[in-house]
Amino acid sequence: MSAVLELKKKYTWKDAPDMLTSYLFIVPALVIFLLFGLYPFLQVFWLSVHSWDGISAVKEFVGLQNFIEVIRDQYWWQAMKQAGYIAFLALTFQNALALILALLVDQDIRGGNAFRVIFYLPPVLSGIVVGLIWGWIYDGNYGLLNKVLEVFGQGQFARAWLADPKTALTCVGIIHMWKGFGWGFVILLAGLQGIPRELYEAADVDGAGSWHKFMHVTIPMMIPVFVLVMILTILGTMQIFDIIASTTNGGPGYATEVPVTRILASMLGSSRFGYSCAQAVVFGVILLIISLTQLHLSKKMKQA
């Protein structure tokens, strides 16, 4: 009650030094945020309506021209679709694997901690290094994958996996999933361990089997965690770049181009900074819409 009264207290000039002191505490964080967070963010919007080569002092205002061009850019949308495909792979296979592993490690198995460390290793590796290692696995001439296929008598399937437009994108997706499942694993495991054990005990008393416990206790309790993992997966995957840069460079042709490689191509390849900022804004808006939709759906699921 006293706390509520305290909040309603009217401030006078006498309190000014105290208040000033309080605000002083947030000044450093505020300055850093304004300088390195808000200013660049607004600058991207400002540049997106200009034509600028990144060097000259003159930035020509072009209105929505850059955005119209982005909407008409077939390679941009192809890149979006391709990133969406990798995101789909990650959402399904990567997260399914992460969940299975999290459920297994949650069972107090022997060496659980060792598994945690092992499963979390790929995400901490550099994307470039991972790309180079997998590039060797997929190599058409001396690659491990082709050798394994030959050993099992399936040599007819051997190919240059990353140079074939039919397989390149999926191969890149597999590398991304291998590198990324550890994140989901750790978050899902934390979520599983956060479920009160009493709920399972109560389900046991009610005679529920493992499947029922999983469906009626684990899944509902894990929905917020699933949503978090899904959002992080989509945001992380749509922004995939380093693995592409070290394996295919967007090729063959445009087969593994993703939005970030297109933004980079516009910025550094063509020196069209305004256009690349417009691409970045469009990309950001799309990601925001996806995230909000997902949050909305998860709320509905929770209510249901």
């Binding site: 002191t21 850093i32 001439n141 140079a163 437009p165 063959p252």
Partner: protein, 456 residues
């Protein structure tokens, strides 16, 4: 802790943080002669000339040269390394925005970006210095290398004619071949292919001997475009290429179709290594150096790279195979790396003196000996290792898009490189690529004309 003590602590903390931030911001904005690179433990002497570069393989020699220069003249030159090259490039662009470029810097970008730097007033016109004393300094360089630093009268970028850079070394891209693998395939290791037909025949023989043919970093489209450019120059000559860039000759011209089809012919004959179109050049270099491919399309720097990877590699170098007798064989090349003088620097004269000294024969020779790069000074190229000599001799055939009065639109350049990748794997025909390039070119030309009409 009392309230007063907390307030005092808060004030002191905030003041301290603000002071640190101000110092940090001040540090960020420092530039030119006073800036020190990160990682130096002792404060260096105040530099007379500050040079920003990206060449990690040459840093030690640059430092050595700086010491020599200080010994000879008393002038302190501070070479500051910012690598990798992408980070360097971004730093230079950002510094241009804040007008904090050093006295000497390099521009790692296309000609149009170089032109933008000049037009924005960041690059000193070196023509008077180059042409002083009967053009003594100018004459010291390979002509093709200096051409890349030169903007001629009536250039499409509207840059005032002049020489705006000093080439430090030169490069060109040719074919390296493994002599042992040639012998293994029953080929004469001393007779590399001269014509395209011979090249295809060599590829077939290598394939028959189960030896990989050509490797190169063709995931980087500039490298694939290099070879396309070589073929185009040999087939069409300078004038027709210029006309294409100007928009007078379409990419659907039979000569251009022929250029694109050569890649398909190489693929069909088994000349190209598997997976080459998504190969990064480092991988291609390793493959060649390890003797797993017989031919590599690579630049002058390959001499140094292969020496590091496999000192026993027995290789030779040959020019791009001839397509036609109509025009000379062309080799993509010109200035390897070059330095520009900051037009806003107060130390312009000192910077100029240093670059003049750096491009003199003894310094150029030291650079060539220690880094295996081809010197930009013609005289110092007389006494270099045999492999480099072949590259030096090929400078005569060197061509580069920047030598032409027009340049291609980046979207067209990208579409050509990507299109050739797709032709190689059979996902696109030469006609389809030609049609795509024609459409793109028209689109870009229209945009340019609209811009011109609007007076922009």
């Amino acid at each position: 802790m009392s309230g007063k003590a907390v307030r005092q602590y808060a004030r002191m903390s905030c003041a301290g943080i603000l002071l640190a931030m101000l110092c940090g911001i001040g540090g960020c904005s420092g530039s030119g002669s006073g800036t020190q690179p990160s990682g130096k433990k002792e404060p260096a002497k105040k530099a007379d000339v500050v040079v920003w570069h990206w060449m990690s393989d040459r840093d030690a020699v640059f430092q050595e040269l700086a010491k020599q220069y200080e010994g000879q003249t008393g002038q302190v030159v501070d070479f500051q390394l910012f690598a990798p090259s992408e980070a360097y490039s971004n730093k230079v662009r950002a510094s241009a925005q804040t007008k904090t470029l050093p006295d000497i810097f390099g521009i790692l970008a296309e000609t149009r970006d170089f032109a933008s730097f000049i037009k924005a007033g960041f690059v000193e016109n070196l023509t008077p210095a180059m042409e002083a004393d009967n053009s003594q300094w100018k004459k010291a360089f390979f002509e093709k290398a200096l051409a890349m630093e030169t903007f001629v009268e009536g250039n499409q970028f509207n840059v005032n004619p002049g020489i705006y850079g000093v080439p430090i070394d030169v490069m060109n891209i040719q074919f390296f071949y493994n002599k042992d693998l040639f012998a293994q395939a029953g080929l004469d290791p001393e007779k590399p292919p001269l014509t395209f037909e011979e090249f295809i025949a060599v590829g077939k023989k290598l394939k028959a001997a189960n030896i990989q043919g050509l490797v190169s970093g063709w995931s980087e489209i500039w490298m694939i475009n290099c070879l396309a450019d070589n073929f185009a120059w040999n087939l069409m000559g300078r004038d027709k290429i210029t006309a294409t860039l100007k928009g007078d000759v379409p990419y659907s011209d039979p000569d251009w179709i022929r250029v694109f089809s050569l890649f398909k012919e190489m693929q069909d004959a088994g000349v190209l290594a598997t997976g080459m179109i998504t190969m990064v050049n480092k991988h291609a270099e390793q493959t060649f150096a390890n003797g797993k491919a017989a031919i590599a399309f690579n630049g002058t720097w390959g001499v140094n790279v292969y020496r590091g990877m496999n000192p026993k590699l027995n290789y030779g170098v040959f020019l791009p195979p001839k397509i036609s007798d109509k025009y000379p064989v062309a080799v993509w090349g010109g200035a390897g790396s070059s330095f520009k003088i900051n037009a806003l620097s107060a130390q312009k004269e000192k910077a100029l003196q240093f670059l003049r000294w750096m491009t003199e024969v003894p310094q150029q020779k030291l650079l060539a000996d220690k880094t295996m790069n081809l010197p930009s000074n013609k005289e110092s190229a007389a006494d270099i290792i045999p492999a480099l000599k072949q590259f030096s001799a090929a400078m005569e055939y060197a061509v580069h898009p920047s030598q032409l009065p027009y340049s291609e639109f980046p979207r067209v350049v990208e579409a050509m490189g990507k299109g050739i990748q797709l032709i190689i794997i059979g996902s696109k025909t030469t006609q389809e690529l030609a049609a795509e390039l024609v459409a793109l070119k028209q689109e870009e030309m229209k945009r340019l004309e609209a811009k011109k009409a609007a007076g922009k």
